[in-house]
Amino acid sequence: MSPFILSILLLGLGLGTTITFASSHWLLAWMGLENNTLAIIPLMAQHHHPRAAEATTKYFLTQATAAAMLLFATTSNAWLSGQWHILQMNHPLPTTLITLALALKIGLAPMHAWLPEVLQGLNLTTGLILSTWQKLAPFALLLQVQQTNPALTIMLGITSMLIGGWAGLNQTQLRKILAYSSIAHLGWMLIVIQFSPSLALLTLLLYFIMTSSAFLSFKLNNTTNINSLATSWAKMPTLTSLAPLILLSLAGLPPLTGFMPKWLIIQELTKQGLAPTATLAALSALLSLYFYLRLAYAMTLTISPNNLTGTTPWRLPSNQLTLPLAASVTATNFLLPLSPPILSLLTP
């Protein structure tokens, strides 16, 4: 792809999210979302491969439907209450429709079926953009809508966590596993979004850091399934020893960063008197832990058959930029002691 076209597309991605962030009017927020969708489609379809074309078509159909539903709900809200402002949504019908449309946009559980297939058809860089940057604008809107019915977001959250855990168990493709991990993490955010929006935002940002380090380390190894993970020790011995920490941080085990959002969310749910929901959330993390552990086992905890030529590749220098990977891996593993300042930065 020509660098001029690439820069225009990346600027379009940035512009869409910025428009949605800056808007208080629903029409402008919708325009930002459309801009985001239209800007990433050439990036997804740039390799003229059947799988890329199929993934792009599926992504386009779901995103266009979700955007149309969002605009329909806001137009209905304008007809019912005469308001276009994002923060002044009072009628329950448009609010529910908007929540469902945004859930379809970010791939929450009853509307999640497109996300693993789309992610499977992309390369790892575009997949990283899809699972981080593209989620920002819909999530910002979801944070601003006042929920009239608390059962809706809790049900969306619980089904996302359970389905993300169950469906990920059967996968051998890394991008599908990462897609189901994304669904499960978004479930954790949705479950707390009406009690503490700042906590949901914190979870989203930490998920971005953790999933970027997972995507970047898989990209450095050029791996897309579990089998090829087993030879990664020959390419990057240091990264191979750090990768289980990244995966366990995604799973949310205590000394790593991923424990912080789960800890705070369970504390907040218990404070709100939702102990059964908190228990279900904590138990659903075990499902995800299983497939993260399987990845870590295939990558690091087994010793592969070794020969003399097999040990040479790690001496060959890689020309990929490793600074983002180093920064995100450091943040993925060691951010837990900093949780009080991070929390006070985000909570008002």
């Binding site: 029409l27 059947p50 078509t57 789309v118 058809g121």
Partner: protein, 97 residues
Amino acid sequence: MTPAHFTFSSAFALGLMGLAFHRTHLLSALLSLEMMLTLFIALSLWTLQLNSTSFSTSPMLLLAFSACEASTGLALLVATARTHGTDRLQSLNLLQC
């Protein structure tokens, strides 16, 4: 609920149901996505009813974005026809498992 509100709501719901349940060809899915045009009517009628001049550009903005989306959809139709040889949605099954 005014009659105009009912009309565009039911038209939109029909379009959405067409998109959800009639899934043989990609072209018919793209046609169902033109349910955005009911939103054009809704925005125009809202502007007319409230006599708000400042809002009168919004149907045009919606139409512009809707045209962009339709052209993207047709480009993807061409791309899938070239890679899969057909526009049936049944054949888009390389990625599922």
